[in-house]
Symmetry: D2
Subunit: 291 residues, 4 copies
C-alpha cells in the first residue's frame, strides 16, 4: 500500500514538532488540534494543512498524540477513520485501551498501533525520537515510512498494548532512578559530602543513569526544577505500570513503592510541577535541600 496522505491529531509540546517533520516525506499532511488556531499556525510554519477532524481521519495514516487514552477513545468515537487506514497512537497511553481500540478498529478494517515516543521535546524537534510499537507487525511495516521522519529508532515490541507497556515501564524506571539518586544524595549531604563532586563520581561509576547524567545537576542540584514534564503525568504513567502489574499479579515492590511516593508528591505539591520536583517531598522529610 502506498501512503498518500497522513494526518496528525494533537499539536501539543511533542506533537507540534513531530508533525513538522512529516512534509519531508509526504505532500498531503493534514493537522488538527482542538484549539484550531494552533493547527492553522502549524500549517503556515511547516507547510501542513489545517483540516477538520472529519478530513483528518480520511488520511491513509493518522497519528494521535494526546494526554490520555481516554481522549483518543473519544476522538475515535466521534470521528472514525476510513477503512484501510492505519492509526498510529503516540500517546503515553494504557495497554488495555490499546487492546480495546485495536479490536474495535479491526472490525472497521483499520489497523491500530500503539506507538508512544521517548526523547522529550528536543528529540521531537530533532526528529530523533525512540518509537516503541505494539500491534500488528504488518501494519507497522507499512506505516514505518510515515513514522521515520520524526524517529531515531523504531522498535517493534509486541502485540497491541506492548508499546504503551514499555513506555510506562520506562517512565517508572526514570522515576525510580530519580528518586533513589535523591535519596542517596540526602544520605551524602548529611555527611557533608560535596554533592556535585559525588555526582561526578557516580556518573563515572556503576550507579550512573540517564537521570544522573541529564537531569540531576540541571534540575535538582540547581534547585530550579524547570517545568518540562509535569509530575502528575509521570504519576499517571507510573500508575499505568503498576495497574498493569496488578492485572497480571506481577510482584514489583520497588516500583510499587516508587509509584506511591510519586503519587504522594503529586498530591501534595502545587500543580503543575516538574516531575523532578518530586524530590522536594524527600527533602522535606529529611529537613534538607539538595544543593
Amino acid at each position: 500500500m502506498a501512503i498518500e496522505s497522513v494526518a496528525f491529531i494533537g499539536l501539543g509540546a511533542m506533537g507540534w514538532h513531530m508533525a513538522a517533520h512529516l512534509p519531508k516525506a509526504f505532500s498531503d499532511v493534514r493537522v488538527w488540534n482542538r484549539t484550531f488556531s494552533k493547527a492553522e499556525q502549524h500549517a503556515q510554519l511547516f507547510s501542513t494543512t489545517a483540516v477538520s477532524l472529519q478530513q483528518a481521519v480520511q488520511a491513509d495514516v493518522i497519528f494521535s498524540c494526546l494526554p490520555t487514552s481516554q481522549q483518543v477513545e473519544d476522538i475515535i468515537a466521534q470521528a472514525p477513520p476510513k477503512a484501510g487506514s492505519i492509526w498510529v497512537d503516540c500517546t503515553s497511553g494504557e495497554p488495555q485501551s490499546a487492546q480495546k481500540l485495536a479490536q474495535s478498529l479491526k472490525a472497521r478494517q483499520v489497523a491500530y498501533l500503539d506507538a508512544p515516543v521517548s526523547g522529550q521535546t528536543i528529540g521531537a524537534e530533532n526528529g530523533t525520537l525512540t518509537v516503541m510499537v505494539g500491534g500488528d507487525a504488518e501494519a507497522l511495516a507499512i506505516a514505518s515510512v510515515a513514522i521515520q521522519p520524526f524517529a531515531g529508532m523504531i522498535e517493534y515490541v509486541g502485540q497491541s498494548g506492548a508499546g504503551f507497556a514499555v513506555k510506562a515501564v520506562n517512565n517508572i524506571l526514570m522515576a525510580v532512578n530519580l528518586w533513589s539518586l535523591a535519596e542517596g544524595m540526602c544520605n551524602l549531604k548529611a555527611q557533608a559530602v560535596d554533592l556535585n563532586a559525588a555526582l561526578k563520581c557516580i556518573n563515572a561509576s556503576s550507579g550512573q543513569s540517564g537521570i544522573s547524567h541529564n537531569i540531576f545537576a540541571q534540575r535538582v542540584l540547581s534547585q530550579e526544577f524547570p517545568l518540562t514534564f509535569a509530575l502528575n503525568l509521570l504519576a499517571k504513567d507510573a500508575k499505568i505500570a503498576t495497574d498493569l502489574a496488578s492485572d497480571s499479579n506481577t510482584v514489583m515492590p520497588v516500583l510499587q513503592l516508587t509509584q506511591q511516593l510519586l503519587r504522594s508528591a503529586s498530591n501534595s505539591l502545587p500543580q503543575p510541577s516538574d516531575f523532578s520536583s518530586a524530590v522536594k517531598l524527600l527533602e522535606q522529610w529529611n529537613q534538607t535541600q539538595l544543593n
Copy 2:
C-alpha cells in the same frame, strides 16, 4: 614532598591490576599480599618488589585494597606506617572506620585517605578507574601523583569517610537500578513483550542506566549470571549505605527496601553468586524467567 617509594597491600582482583600500573611512575614499588606467593608472582610480572608487611609500611605512600575495613584496621594495628607517610585506602570500606583511622594515624603524623575505586577489573587493568577521595585535601594533592597511574578520574569529595560514603551510595544505586529494571521486565514479560526489544527501547529512552546498558542483557536476559562481583559484597556495600543513613536519621525508603531485598537474596541464594543473580529471587516470586 617528593614520593620516592610506594607500596600496595592486597593483590586481589582489583589490587593486582592497580599495583601493576605503579612502576610507570615509581622505581621503588613494594607489594605485599597475605598469600605471599601472589606478591612474588606480581613482582616477576610487573617489576615490583615483594616485601614483608613491615617493609611495605615504610614506603612514602601505602595503598591498601582489601575486602573490608576491619581487615585494614587489623593490618595497620599490626604494622603501623612511618611518620610522614600517606595511607591511601582503596577498600570499599566504612565511613566510620575512615574517620577512626584518619584520627589515630594523624597522631602518628600519617595522613589517611579513603579512596575507593569504581570501574571493575577492566578499569583496573586499563588504568581508568574512578577514584573518589575523602580526607585531608593537602595529602591528596601530594598523593595524587601516585594514584594517577591507575586512575581515569580522581575526585575529592569531602572529609574522612566521604569517599567510602560516595562508593557505598553508588553501589546501592547500581543495585536499585538493577532490581527495578528486573521488576519492570517481569511486568513486561507477563504481557508477552519482547524483552530484548524492550531493553533496546529503554536504552534509547529516559529510563536508561549503566545497568541497562552494560549488565542486563549480558547477565540477566542471557540467564548466565557470571560471577564477577559477589552478591554478598554488594549486600555489604548496601548495608554500609543504610547504616550511614540510620546514623544520621536520613530517610531513604526506596534504598532501604532495596537493601532488604539484596539481603534476602544474599541470604537465600548459594554462595558465591554474582550480584546480578539477586533478580532470581524476583523471578521466583513471579514464577517467571527473564529471557
Copy 3:
C-alpha cells in the same frame, strides 16, 4: 414488608453454618449449592429445603456466599431474582462489582446489599459473625431480621461497595499484623530471645493484635500452619484493597508492600496453603524458623 421466604446460595465453609441458623427465624428456608448433594444434606440436617437455583431466586431475601464477585455475577445473570426481593451478598467481593450489581438490580426493583462477614467458621457456627453492610439503608432495615440469626453485629458502613471495602481493608490489616509480627519475631530470634515469652509480653503490651492473640502461637510458633483460610484468597482480598486504592489515587505504602509480599508468598508456596504460611517466605529470607 414481611419476609416470608429466604434462600441461601453457596454452602461452603462459611455458608453452610450461616444458612443453618435461618430456620430459627423463618419457616421457608431454601438452599442451593452447585454440588447439589450438599444442599440436600443441609436440608436433612437443618430442616431447610434444597431447591433449584430458579426456585431460590424467588425468595424474598436471597443470600449469596461465594468465593468471588465474578461467581455472584454469573449466578445473577443466569437466574435473576424477582422484583421486590433483597439480595444480600456475603461474599468477600469487589466494591466495583457491588456498585454494578446494585445498579443493574435496582432496574429490576431488587435491592442489592454487599454484606461480607468476619469471624471465621467458628463465628458462623455460633451465629456471632460481624456483618458489614453497604448499599441501601432502607433495604438493610428490612433485611436485617434475616441477617440477625447468624450475626453478632450488623453494621451499616455506607453506600454500595462500602461493605466489601471494609472487609478487604480488614483482611489486609490482618495480613500486615501477621507479617510484621513475624518480622519482629525474626529479629528477636536472631538475638536468641525466647519467642513464646516475647509473644506473651507483646500480648500484654501496646503492640498486641488479634493475630498476636489468636493466630501466632497456634499456627506459626507451632510451625503447623493448619489450612483454614487459603493464602491465595487472602492475597485476592489484599488485591481488592490495593486496586481500590489505585482507583482513588490513595497512597498507602505499607499496605501496598504487604500486598506485594502476600502475592510473592502466594505465587511461590504450594497451593493450597494456610494464609499464615506466608511467613515461610520471610523465614526463608532470614534462613530461620520461628519456633
Copy 4:
C-alpha cells in the same frame, strides 16, 4: 539475699508512679531525680526518701527509668553501684548498651537487668505494668520481689539485651498497627465509608489490634492527637529495632519501611507531637483528614 533497700532513679512520667508503689513492699525506698525538687515532692507524697545519687546507688536494688541508654550509662559512670547489688533498668534502651553494662557491672559484682515496661502512665499508676526482663535469671529471681509492686506481669525473655529488644519490637509493631490502620482508613474515606462504623467492624474482626481498640478513635478519628507519648521517642524505639536487625542481617521490609515513615513524620512535624500524629503525614499525602 534479702532486699533491705531499694532506690529509684528517674522520676519522669512513668518512674514517678512506679516508685510510688515501692513503699508497699520496702521501708527503705530512696528516690533521686536530676531536678531534685521532684524527688523531694515524691518523698513527701509517697513516703519515700529523697537522697543524693551516691546514696541511691548504695541500695540493694537500684531502678533506673530514663529517656535513653546513654543517660543510664552516664549515671552509672558517675556513681557506680555497690558490690552485691542489682541494677534494674526500666528505660526503653538499646540491647547493645544492656550487654555492655551487664558485662562491666559484673566485674564489680553487680547484676544488671534490662527490664523495660509497657502499659503507659495508667498502668504505672495502677501498678499493672508488663515488665520484660533480659539478663541473669538468678538476679531476676532475687529482684522480682522489688519489681512486683508496679507489675501486672514479669516475664523473663532471655539474656542481656533481650528485654530491650522485645520492647523495641513491641513498639515498632504498635507503630505499624497504627500506620497501616490509618492507610486503610484513608482508602475507605476515599469511598465515602463511615469511618467510625468501619472501625467498629474492624474491632469485631480479624484485623483488630490494641491500636484499633484503644487509640484510633480517641486520638485520630477525633483529630485530637493528645500528647502522651512523644513521636520522636517512638521513632527512637523503632530505630533501636531496625538497628538491631541490621546488626544481625535480619530482613524485615515492612518494619523497615514503617521506621522510615515514622522518621519522616518525626522530622517534619512540630516537636513535641504525640506518636499518633504520625498519621498527619499520610493525611497530607492523601489530601484528606481521617474523621
